[in-house]
Point group: C2
Chain length 196, copies 2
């Protein structure tokens, strides 16, 4: 299958049939990709990080682990991961309010709006923003529970493969964050490819 | 103000005006209290752990820190905490699917249904379950990112005081979990009191 682009600072949604997989590529090794998944027949039924953490008993999904919905059903499976295995499941998608708190006085592109826009491009209307699976995002937790905004510990070309356990829509956002260091200082393109 | 009971395995909702505080009491020292807060004028605007973690840069709120909504506005403030300061913000509320996965074949009371029931007692109809602030819940994270189901590191009578930054509805659930050790093995009552 052709490689498709998630343009820097933008979102992209794609439909997967049960059994298909999507390979998410950190092309430059520095880019966080916020990722959501929704059941096609009911967008209120979606991939949920808080349920996934409980079901797996792990802060972030590891190779071979399932990603669960808010009704505790499998939706994706992390089939492969060539990165360090560090991903984030606890930081809300950036949104216009985040950038206002960071001092922006004009509109700043953000992952929340990217998700809504990308779904709209598929004709889907949904405005509740679930906690995303923030692929490649590095948030170390200090002993005093402080959350550190780290840079992705990735190599160019690192990949995660997510296989669909059911028909679903997967949404990606190449995170536009350029104020904290979480995208290595500069948001760039990422890529994906669909596999049967 | 009188002390009110959150009956073991049940929920309770209460309205707070801006400036009022609620004291949540871990009467027996072993009970987790799942806690939610909603803006009165729009239940879709609610206390959000994923936004609170980002805004505070901390895994769990500490004394003096704000609890933020999904629009990154203050809704509560953690004014006091006589416990160890250990609370959970990453584990989804238990729900009927959780108990089915744990092997229950009959209905098991759960925090998600308790939230819906408690809101209904105030005439409020809301079925989306936000990630709760799980007061007194102890989920250590191991070095390999395994999440441990610990017992509350609390003393009988430990209290948290939450002061309202705006008019809101606060919902409590005395967690009915009796299969994992997170309630010290036996769900019991907790209590609360409202202060001006």
């Amino acid at each position: 299958m052709p490689i498709e682009t998630i343009p820097a600072r933008h979102g992209k949604a794609v439909r997967l049939s049960a059994g298909q997989a999507v390979e998410v590529i950190n092309t430059h090794g520095t880019q966080v990709v916020d990722t959501w998944a929704f059941c096609v027949e009911d967008l209120d039924h979606f991939m949920s990080m808080e349920h996934t953490r409980v079901q797996n008993g792990r802060l972030m999904p590891a190779i071979g682990q399932t990603l669960w919905t808010n009704r505790r059903e499998p939706i994706l499976m992390m089939e492969a991961d060539t990165s360090s295995g560090i991903h984030d499941t606890i930081m809300a998608a950036c949104d216009r309010w985040r950038y206002e708190h960071l001092g922006c006085t004009e509109y700043h592109r953000n992952c929340a709006d990217n998700m809504v826009e990308a779904l709209a491009e598929l004709g889907l209307d949904f405005h509740h923003i679930p906690q995303p699976l923030n692929l490649f995002m590095n948030i170390p937790i200090d002993a005093d529970f402080t959350l550190v905004q780290g840079e992705p510990p990735c190599k160019p070309g690192d990949k995660v493969v997510l296989r669909a356990a059911r028909d679903c829509v997967v949404v990606f956002s190449a995170c536009p964050q350029d104020i904290t260091p979480i995208n290595g200082g500069k948001p760039v393109d990422a890529h994906f490819a669909i596999h049967d």
